[in-house]
Each structure stands twice: as C-alpha cells, then as structure tokens.
Symmetry: C2
Subunit: 334 residues, 2 copies
Amino acid sequence: MDAMAGETRPGEFELIARHFAPIAGPGGLGLVDDAGLLRPARGYEIVVTVDALVAGVHFFPDDPPASIARKALGVNLSDLAAKGAKPEGFVLSLVLPKGWTEAWLADFAAGLAGMAAENGCSLIGGDTVSTSGPLTLSITAFGSVPAGRMVTRSGARPGDLVLVSGTIGDGALGLKVHGPAKPGWISALDEAGRAFLADRYLHPQPRLALAGGLQSHASAAMDISDGLVGDLAKLLKASAVGAEIDLNAVPLSMPARAAIMADPALAELAWTGGDDYEILCTASEREYPALVAAAESAGMALTAIGRVTAEAGEARYREQGKARSFAQGSFAHF
Amino acid sequence: MDAMAGETRPGEFELIARHFAPIAGPGGLGLVDDAGLLRPARGYEIVVTVDALVAGVHFFPDDPPASIARKALGVNLSDLAAKGAKPEGFVLSLVLPKGWTEAWLADFAAGLAGMAAENGCSLIGGDTVSTSGPLTLSITAFGSVPAGRMVTRSGARPGDLVLVSGTIGDGALGLKVHGPAKPGWISALDEAGRAFLADRYLHPQPRLALAGGLQSHASAAMDISDGLVGDLAKLLKASAVGAEIDLNAVPLSMPARAAIMADPALAELAWTGGDDYEILCTASEREYPALVAAAESAGMALTAIGRVTAEAGEARYREQGKARSFAQGSFAHF
C-alpha cells in the first residue's frame, strides 16, 4: 500500500498526499514510496513506540482536529522522552470515518505539522484507510539513543528515590472540565483554572527536555499515561521491587488543588486517573542531585515522592501519615 | 502507554501480554516496557512501512483470526520485500471491537506468531485499545538494507524492462470466490482452483526471497497491493517515465485462466483488482538476466510484461495487438 494512500475514493489519495507531504522529512521520500527510511548515526539505536487512539475513548470526536493530531503525536513523544530518546520521525495510520471533510483533514494536518516541527520529529510514512467506525489513529514514533542507553522500566533498585515531573492529575481533572458532564466542583475554579486543566487534557506536552538527564542519571523511567498509581505498579513489577510513596508529596497544580479543595474525593482521581503525560522515574541517591539539576536547567520540575523498597511488587502509599490503598490502579478513560 | 497494554478491562492487560509475549523478539524487551529497540548493523539503514487493515474493508469480520493476523503482517512484509529489505521486527496496534473473546485472541496471536517465525520478523512492541467500531489493525514493520540500497519507486529509466513476480489477479478473483456473493463463473472452477484463489486472497505470501535480487539488480520496485494498472501508474509517476505493457504477457495462474475463460470480463478485474502482493519492478537490459537468475535460484518466477518509455506518466496497454485503456486503475476493495 502507499506511503500516504489507501482505499479511499479516487482523487482522495492525491488530496491526502497534498496535506501530509509538507510534514514529511528527508526519510519520508516525499511520501511517494512504499516505505520511509531511518538512518541512525553510528553507535546509536532506534527506540520504537506505538500508541493507538480511538475517538470516544482517547478523545472526543468533536475535539478540534489540530488538538487530536497534537495529542496523537504528543503521547508517542512522551514515551520517547521517558526512554531518554531524541525524536527522529514517525509514521501515521489514519483510519477515517464516513463523512470526513477536507477542512477537517487540513486542520488535522496543520496540528500534526506544528507538533512535528516543534519537536523535530518529521513524518516518514503512513497509510490512510476508511472505516464504518470511529476515527482511529495509530502513530509509531522513532527516537535515537546511544547504544545500550535506553532508559527501561526495569532498572529501579531498592533505596532509589521515586520522582515525577511537573504536576499530577491535571489531565484526568481536565477531562472532566472538558467533557460534557460538567460536575459541580468546576464552579470552584476560575476561568483560567478551567482552561489550564482542559488544555492539559487536550494538549499533552512531551517532556523531551528531560530526555538527556534521564539517559544520564535515571535508573528507570516511563511516562505516566494511565495514572500514577497504575503506572508505578508496572514499573515496580518490571524492576521486581516495591515502593513507599508519600501521597502528600505528589505535586499538584494550583487548579488541581482548588478542585480537590472543592471535592476531596478528586484526590484519588488525580492519583489514579490517566492522561498526565509526565515522567515517572527512579534515581539512586548518588545520581539524584545531578538528575534534578539537569531537569532544573531544562526548566522542568522533578519532585521526589517516595523511595524504592525491596518488597517486590508492593507499593505502599501514605497520606497524612496513614496507610492508603487503591482498589484499582488506573481509571478507564470514559 | 504500554508495550502491549491499553484501555481494556482490568486483567485484560495481562491476558493480552500473555498471548503476545511469545511472539516478542529480543528488541521487544518482553513487551513490558514502553518501547522496543532496533539495532541496525553498522552500515545498514532501517526501512519502515506501515499498513492499516479494517474489518469489512480489507478482510471479512468472520475470517479466521489466524488468517487476519497472517494477512496484516504479510502485507507489510510484502512492502519490505519490494524495497529489497530483510525483516527485522514489527509493532502492532490492535483495536479490538466489543465482544472479542480470548479464543479469538489466542487464534489471532497464533497466526501472527507463525507468520513472524516463518519470516524471521519478531514483535517488538504494540498497543491494544478498544473501539465501538470494527476490528482495526495497524502494523509498522522494519527491515534492514545496506545504506543507500533501498529499492525505490523512482529509479525506472526509459528502456528498462517491466517485470512482475508470480501470477496476477488471483487475489481479486479470490476475494470473489471467498466472499458471500458467489458469482456464476465460480462453477467453472474445480474445488482445488477455488481453494487456490481463496487462499491467495486470504494468505498473501510476501516475496522476501526476491529481496536480495531486487536490491542488486532492480532499478525500481514496489509491491502490487491495489492492482497492477493502478500501482504501475504510481511507479511511473514517481520515476517520471511511461511504459508500454503487453497485457497478454501478464502471467495468470491456471485457476485465473479458467475463470477468465468462463467470463472474459474478469480479465479487467485481474489487471486492476487488488490483493496481488506480487512484486512490480523494472530492470535495465544489462541487469535483467541477473535479476531473473536470482529469482529463479530463489524458486520464483519473474515475467517481463513490457518496457519503460520516456513519455512521463503515460502507460500504454496492448491486448492482442490492440490498444486498451482503463477508466480506473484500482478497484475499491468491497
């Protein structure tokens, strides 16, 4: 099948190619070939990550097309950041529902082009097909790391500190703000606070500025996409360790604090809800100062929230000095 | 998001990981990380290809799950073969419809495992999500070529011979045999002929044994997925050349000949229908004997069907000495 073609009506192939060709990098061969090319520098390896997004599951069908595109690429770039990798390119499977329009496609391509350019990650190939179901996107993204230097989930060791970037819970709260239900606590937020949270849900910011520091100083890392509690469980399992976490140390944004003040039950949503796209990582006592310094010089906050223990698979949470447990690590998206 | 996880019900993550972990290669890191790794040998580049398949468009929803899996990987491997690349790994986006069962998943994974093992192409990552729509698959596959040696669509030169591998039209005829409509001409075929055509539709065989010969001797190549006539037009456009094609030279299988004998209108379906997954390539007079010899030593037929001309974009077809034109190059799939 074609670089950016598929089983659409005649003429749509050219239309799609026209909108996506400007996003193509040198490895995309103008999107006229069957395939793209990755040319890692000598001594480098390619990190590969893939994320699929479905309308009605990962975003709302009537979200702005540019936002959908930014999120689809952003969640993949977030994975590359967590692995300590530099973005090198991506391919897109675009599964279009009935009734798509050229205006929708143009806005989508513009959002994708912006996100690609801002992060130095160009389109090197793709496939477009039609579906009787909802809009579905799958992006496979590629990053480079010096050979043997990808940051895995499995390197955490007892005694390491557990850290998170930025603030936690904004995405899950932002989904509530942005979605149609509009719960009562939203009225406790000012307009700027509501906009902040909705933006955090709609437009994840991949923490690529942390990639170099993670590669040099982290013992393990992953991005937080399915909730801090659930994703920490995965990291601990991969590393065959446990952790003690102080939930009061988990960094919250001002709007998230205001929301939780209005409805204390939202704290659990913040800790377990998805769509953070922050970095969860571990670092030894020795590497910790250098890791935090690297983050600071990149203009990013990294906050210690606990410590790795030897109790494999066991995450113990404390809130205001009391033990706290979670029945289910990750909330479903909708 | 996870190597092979996603927004499914709790416990399904482990279930899916269990079925897919056996297909994972060393670069898949046991599918417990966010990402896979590609480690090209020194002096090699990575060829990247992506194809999306949707139930009801590219296959029937009730096709055997193992056949769906084999086709999804096979069409990607077919692209790698056409580019002269050696398979190195793949990632899978699996978008599951409501009501999937573990039995379905087990059969799908078994088919995928078989295809992966037969072609030396292991799973290095993936994402699984759910949809309200039809089953959708997107596979991104990776192959290696010596730097600068990927066979493109754009290298055909006037005077080159135009060649195709295997036989043309079996997939499009096989779709009719396999589908629910059962046209009258099917009765002209014996049981073995019907089974042959249906199998050609259901189980494309990537022509990887041709990859080395193409890399050494072809001036341009692509796989034929959307019909010979439509795909040749793309190759000619990319190379800014034309071609004269003798339709009587296009190789047909015995069952395809029998079908066309019963209904002569089927010849056009054979030339323009999709799902061939054969190789379309060009070679200079000088390289042609070595290319055919390489194919023969790999046990594969390559047949010359015409010649490249200098008339950019112009494909001229002759059938029994008379000019023949096609209103539409490629049929839609359904």
